[in-house]
């Protein structure tokens, strides 16, 4: 029969992430801390347990990550500002209804300053470029209500140049198609109302081909399945309105089998160690597939769908209908 989603257990797991740990791994991931808080919060929202983490404490933590020199957010107090953490900060504050804490003009300036002549965005002053950062910029500007300040043609032009022979998109111009990069490009195009840049049939087919006999999804041909692709592939298909091309039952079973039913959380594949990254993406996948008891997730913003809709930001995507029982 297979397991069900153990929501109370995963909620406890997320709550425990902030607690005492002698774990070296925990502090070596300081550069991900703000992202991790966003992943945890989003998972809680989808599982309808948003209040499992204290709101005020969270907002204060986010604000403590403010890098006043740059005018944006770092991943952890004392870390330099970065687009990844800046987006996470904005997403958390929107979900906690605390966006008024933020110096919007300064952040907008920071974001726009990272756009390169080619149209792509750098992640920070270090200059690393990646379509992930392009998505962060577009999403953040949209949430801040300043998307109109973006040079859309220049931005879309770069995405266009990242389109490969298989219909997919890579991290940079010339790079191989990869499901995570496909999602950031497709979601950015969705926000910019430029989905006509996508060869929908070819790309949706490429995405559907990610499903392996186990029911799980991989990120590129001939690679292993991993629960996180349940988010990137499914969200992309949802935006392209071809989510039904995936065998939902088999994927749901795969995600559920990757749960750690002893300690909580979801892992990249059955038997491995759980982490908050795979927990949110597993839960996100289940939500899009209509798994009962979960809230709707917006696949463009990877945030609660109702919240995004209330801000007038909902785009034309489709998830599977929510079942009433497994």
């Amino acid at each position: 029969m297979g397991s069900a989603l153990d929501i109370p257990l995963h909620v406890k797991y997320i709550q425990s992430l902030g607690e005492n740990k002698d774990d070296l791994v925990y502090h070596l991931t300081a550069h991900l801390r703000l992202n991790a808080v966003y992943w945890g919060l989003t998972a809680l929202c989808v599982m309808k347990h948003k209040d499992a983490l204290d709101r005020d404490e969270m907002v204060e933590f986010v604000m403590s990550c403010w890098d006043d020199e740059a005018g944006a957010f770092g991943a952890h107090p004392d870390h330099d500002a970065h687009l990844l953490s800046t987006l996470s900060a904005i997403q958390i504050l929107v979900m906690q209804d605390a966006l008024d804490r933020v110096d919007v003009p300064r952040i907008v300036k920071y974001i726009l300053s990272l756009q390169q002549p080619s149209g792509v965005f750098a992640g920070d002053a270090f200059g690393e470029i990646d379509t992930r950062f392009l998505y962060c910029a577009v999403n953040a500007l949209s949430l801040l209500g300043h998307l109109h300040e973006l040079d859309v043609e220049k931005t879309v032009g770069y995405i266009r140049r990242c389109r490969n022979f298989d219909g997919g998109f890579g991290a940079r111009e010339g790079a191989e198609s990869h499901a995570a990069q496909v999602w950031v490009c497709v979601a950015a195009l969705a926000i910019l109302d430029k989905l006509d840049e996508v060869d929908v049939d070819t790309l949706a087919w490429w995405l559907a081909e990610r499903q392996l006999p186990s029911g799980g999804l991989n990120g590129r041909p001939e690679k292993l399945e991993d629960v996180c692709y349940s988010h990137w592939v499914l969200s992309s298909l949802s935006i392209l309105k071809k989510l039904h091309w995936i065998n939902a039952d088999k994927l749901i079973a795969f995600i559920l089998s990757a749960q750690d039913l002893e300690h909580g959380g979801i892992a990249d594949r059955p038997g491995d160690q759980a982490d908050v990254f795979h927990t949110i993406f597993g839960v996100a996948g289940l939500s899009l597939l209509g798994y009962p008891g979960l809230d709707d997730l917006d696949p463009v913003y990877c945030m609660p769908a109702g919240l995004i809709e209330s801000k007038g930001l909902r785009k034309d995507w489709e998830a599977l209908p929510r079942k009433t029982s497994p």
Binding site: G18, E60, F165, E176, W205, N247
Partner: protein, 331 residues
């Protein structure tokens, strides 16, 4: 013997700065002694803005413990430039770190910055060689491949950089025909980044690439990468799928022709002994040919899609049913 900066007299003049203390964090950090010590001193020299050889030692230590500490990388690079360090020596020093932490973004970005600053084709040649060694350890490493593609495009040197790339991709595909990264690289080198020296006869290039793809399909037909490659080549060159009918047909059969039945056709290699038939990708391809032919051929396409939906590729049943509906609607 203590390895801590706190116990090192050479660092006595630096004021270490503890991780923020006043805020009650939602996500507290607990450090190992060495990491805490190193990052305390790092914050100390960030505050004073120091850029010196000892800062290189400090940042190296941090990076070896935590290669994703992007601020340490940033400051290291700024320091290298400020003190006019030997950047080629830095590359060599970083080789071990790149190999050890090849899945970390920062490692590769640092090398890209160095290559850009050094700005030498000689060094780019060495770098491509180094990447071959890295790819031996992880043939599909995404960062390594896209970094390789950047080097080629950035320096854009036909004779010294581009010239050996197709052969390199081929070498990897001979070792593992399912290496999607290598197929992508081949397309990148041959088609999507300009015309290579010696490839000016595009007809000849097309024949060569089709022949190569067919040969690899014959070897292992149930390989998505090579079929994607084949389709990509046909679409890029505006070559009708129809022209591959004779080649694809044997792959759609349920069994290989018994020996004696087959006619040797070098242009259309038959499935190898071990090939599992019929090949789903070949059926799909054949259905696309029928669909493009239109008219009476649509029924044949529908028949194939039906068999895929019901038997051959049930996982994607809804997709195949979509193809049927879509074709019948247009007919």
């Amino acid at each position: 013997m203590s390895e801590l900066f706190a116990d090192d007299p050479e660092w006595a003049d630096v004021v270490p700065i503890r991780q923020y203390e006043n805020v009650n964090p939602i996500a507290p950090i607990f450090y190992s002694e060495e990491y805490k010590d190193a990052t305390d001193y790092f914050r100390g020299i960030i505050k004073t803005g120091e850029m010196s050889p000892r800062v290189l030692k400090l940042t190296e230590k941090i990076i070896r413990m935590n290669p994703a500490h992007y601020t340490a990388w940033q400051h290291r690079y700024k320091t290298l430039i400020a003190i006019k360090a030997d950047l080629e020596e830095e590359l060599r020093l970083m080789d071990v770190i790149a190999t050890q932490f090849m899945k970390t973004y920062q490692v590769w970005h640092h090398r890209r910055l160095l290559l850009t600053a050094i700005n030498s084709v000689d060094v780019a040649v060495l770098e491509l060689d180094f990447l071959r060694d890295v790819l031996k350890l992880d043939t599909k490493n995404y960062h390594t491949w896209s970094y390789r593609q950047w080097i080629l495009a950035h320096f854009n040197n036909e004779t010294r950089l581009w010239a050996r790339e197709r052969a390199y991709a081929e070498q990897l595909l001979d070792a593992d025909v399912r290496n999607n990264s290598a197929w992508h690289h081949r397309f990148f080198v041959v088609f999507s980044s300009g015309v290579r020296l010696g490839d000016e006869d595009r007809e000849q290039v097309l024949r060569r690439e089709l022949s190569y793809a067919k040969e690899k399909i014959a070897l292992a037909p149930n390989n998505l990468s090579v079929w994607n490659y084949l389709r990509g080549v046909l679409e890029f060159t505006d070559t009708p799928f129809e022209t591959l009918t004779s080649f694809v047909e044997p792959y759609t059969a349920s069994r290989r022709l018994a020996s004696g039945e087959e006619v040797l056709d070098l242009d259309n290699p038959l499935p190898s002994e071990k090939a599992e038939l019929p090949c789903v990708a070949a059926l799909e391809f054949m259905a696309d040919i029928y669909e493009k032919r239109a008219g009476d051929a649509i029924a044949k396409a529908v028949e194939i899609w039906r068999s895929l939906a019901d038997e051959r590729d049930v996982m994607r049943k809804k997709y195949w049913e979509y193809r049927i509906r879509d074709a019948l609607q247009k007919a």
